[in-house]
């Protein structure tokens, strides 16, 4: 069960990063993307609080957010390169 909660938290953390990027780029209704990003982050923390409790989940969420950000930013140019020029 712990693996499931952690997996879900990681996905939500990555979703938070992607939504925040959408918010930065959005030309219409950017607030919705920002709210989505915050909700994803909170849900990620909530998922982690089941196996780890609130206090520890808070720090783990922030740690995961750092890793998600690095993963997204550093992997994106490489993924673009692999996917080709039309993406």
């Amino acid at each position: 069960m712990t693996v499931l909660w952690v997996g879900l938290a990681v996905v939500l953390n990555l979703a938070c990063v992607v939504l925040w990027r959408r918010y930065r780029e959005a030309s219409s209704a950017p607030a919705l993307w920002a709210i989505g990003a915050w909700v994803a982050l909170l849900l990620s923390g909530l998922c982690l609080s089941f196996p780890y409790g609130e206090t520890r989940a808070f720090f783990i969420t922030l740690g995961l957010l750092g890793l998600s950000g690095w993963l997204y930013v550093f992997a994106r140019p490489w993924l673009k390169l692999v996917a080709g020029p039309h993406t």
Binding site: V6, W20, R21, R24, Y52, G53, T55, R56, F59, I60, L62, G63, L64, L65, G66, L67, S68, G69, W70, Y72, V73, F74, R76, P77
Partner: protein, 548 residues
């Protein structure tokens, strides 16, 4: 904020980074390594505790009873049993008493018995003071690395002060970095690896810094606390609140267990208590148990554990050893039930990431490598701006020498940490000489790498060569491990030695990563430009988002 104020913070940020950059890399990298020091690397380092099952508590109780009959009754006031695995390569049964020296000072004297972790056969007996007992403890590569991270093997107070100050500078760098990085949120996603070398460095530095900001700040703050607590904070707090009596301060926060002895003999049942406890708390790792008042009806047994659901280095459960009743449980500093205790408890696990199992350790370790990379990219930007940009006052060759020294020092610590694995597997000397030989492997390989980097003229090629060396060294460890201990990776997995297999697989992965980097990194500086060309095309100072 005014432009000149930002510029002042920029100068503070860059000089803080340059002065402490290499040391910060060393401490952060060894920190990322030390996250797995206890118990993973401890277990890997000691083949006899690999694949260890739950202790046989009944057999251990029998041993304690046997030894209790062979020691003086004064030693029965405090009996400590340290289980093999998490902190010790052997099972240790220690009988302890307090004596008053002619000088009036109190000294702890011990009679200690060492047993093989699996067969429980007696391996040694020691009688002497507690400090002598600690001095003759064997060192393994995990202990060597964790201690190096803590005080750079400079000891107390200077080593602790140095690492504490480094923690402070990391924290200050995080704060000044936020202040000077005016496009903080706008450039969260800026990463332009193909535009120019300088942009690659600055973007990497900013992305590492911004996304990991809270981690860097937490690590800096807790590192400063852990480094300075014994040297400065405890004496200062004792001076303010306890008239300078440091022992009284420590006793207030970490009081000793004081059993209420009745004088009535009773047979305790530690094995039964420990068996029930470990069955009911499978998530907790038993470290040691302290029995106070052996054989008395009021005998208290304190079981120290790792893990659990609290943000604390350890958690202790006190039982009445005769009745098995749980008297109380508390964290390392939790007996006072104050906010100070909660904060003190959080410092160690937040720094070492040992508060949520393997997941948190992996996250903390990768983030720690990020902190190390933050330091080294900062150094690269500083050199790049001065050697090829408008800010240099020394000759280009002088900056190249700084660059070569940085490469040697930083890559050297990576090579040296891998060399420690070889030291662990190849060195077979008495415990007293282990530290010396680990030092030879660690510092010897480090110095060799620094020398190699300094004599090579092309730092880019040196980095490639050193990554290739790291790849070979990493991949070689599981092979040598298989030859020396017989624990080949598939065999270790089949025998359920998951920690050993995990360490070996991590090394293979790290080796693969190093090989990939050795292949992909450029062997010369991309787009070399002379300073005069750059000076003609670049503005003298750019405090905006491009500035780190």
């Amino acid at each position: 904020m005014r432009r000149d104020t930002t510029k002042k913070f920029y100068i503070v940020h860059s000089w803080l980074g340059v002065v402490t950059g290499i040391l910060l890399f060393i401490v952060a990298y060894t920190g990322a390594f030390s996250v797995f020091g206890r118990p993973e690397l401890n277990v890997w380092s000691n083949p006899e505790v690999r694949g260890l099952n739950s202790p046989d508590f009944a057999a251990i109780e029998d041993l304690v009873r046997q030894h209790a009959q062979s020691v003086d009754s004064e030693y029965l006031h405090h009996v400590r049993v340290t289980f093999a695995g998490a902190r010790s390569p052997t099972l240790q049964i220690i009988f302890e008493k307090e004596v008053e020296l002619p000088s009036g000072r109190q000294e702890h004297r011990v009679v200690a018995f060492e047993h093989h972790p699996k067969t429980l056969a007696q391996q040694g007996r020691f009688e002497g003071s507690l400090s002598e007992w600690f001095q003759q403890w064997p060192t393994d590569m995990a202990d060597f690395m964790v201690t190096f991270h803590g005080d750079l093997h400079l000891g107390s107070p200077w080593g602790l002060v140095l690492t504490g100050v480094l923690g402070l500078t990391l924290f200050c760098s995080a704060v000044t970095g936020v202040i000077i990085h005016r496009k903080f949120f706008k450039e969260l996603f800026s990463f332009r690896p193909t535009r120019s070398l300088r942009l690659l460095f600055t973007d990497t530095h900013k992305v590492l810094g911004v996304w990991g900001l809270l981690f860097h700040a937490v690590i800096g703050f807790t590192g400063a606390f852990l480094g300075l607590v014994l040297v400065l904070l405890v004496p200062a707090a004792a001076f303010v609140s306890f008239s300078g009596d440091q022992e009284k301060l420590v006793e207030t926060f970490v009081p000793e267990v004081e059993p209420t002895l009745t004088g009535t003999a009773a047979k305790s049942r530690p094995a039964r208590i420990l068996t029930d406890f470990s069955e009911n708390n499978p998530e907790l790792v038993l470290i040691e148990t302290d029995i106070h008042g052996w054989g008395d009806q009021g005998e208290v047994m304190a079981v120290t554990t790792l893990g659990g659901d609290q943000l604390s280095a350890s958690r202790t459960f006190e039982f009445n050893a005769a009745s098995g009743e749980l008297l109380r449980d508390y964290t390392a500093f939790g007996r006072q039930e104050s906010a100070t205790g909660v904060v003190l408890d959080a410092m160690y696990p937040l720094h070492f990431g040992n508060f949520g199992g393997l997941l948190v350790k992996i996250v903390w370790s990768v983030l720690g490598v990020g902190t190390a990379m933050l330091a080294v990219t900062g150094m690269m930007i500083w050199v790049e701006r001065r050697a090829y940009g408008p800010e240099g006052r020394l000759s280009v060759n002088a900056y190249h020498r700084i660059s070569r020294f940085t490469v040697g020092s930083c890559m050297g610590v990576v090579v040296a940490s891998l060399a420690l694995f070889y030291g662990q597997l190849l060195v077979n000397v008495p415990p007293q000489k282990q530290f010396y030989w680990f030092s030879v492997f660690f510092f010897g390989s480090w110095l060799l790498v620094i020398a190699w980097a300094l004599i090579r003229s092309n730092s880019y090629r040196t980095i490639k060569e050193l990554f290739a060396a790291c790849a070979l060294l990493s991949v070689g460890v599981p092979l040598l491990n298989a030859v020396v201990t017989g624990d080949a990776l598939p065999l270790a997995m089949m025998q359920g030695k998951w920690i050993t297999a995990g360490v070996d697989m991590t090394l293979l992965f790290f080796g693969g990563l190093c090989a990939w980097l050795a292949r992909r990194l450029p062997s010369a500086r991309p787009q070399p430009r002379s300073r005069s060309t750059v000076e003609a095309t670049t503005r003298p100072y750019e405090p905006a988002g491009d500035t780190v």
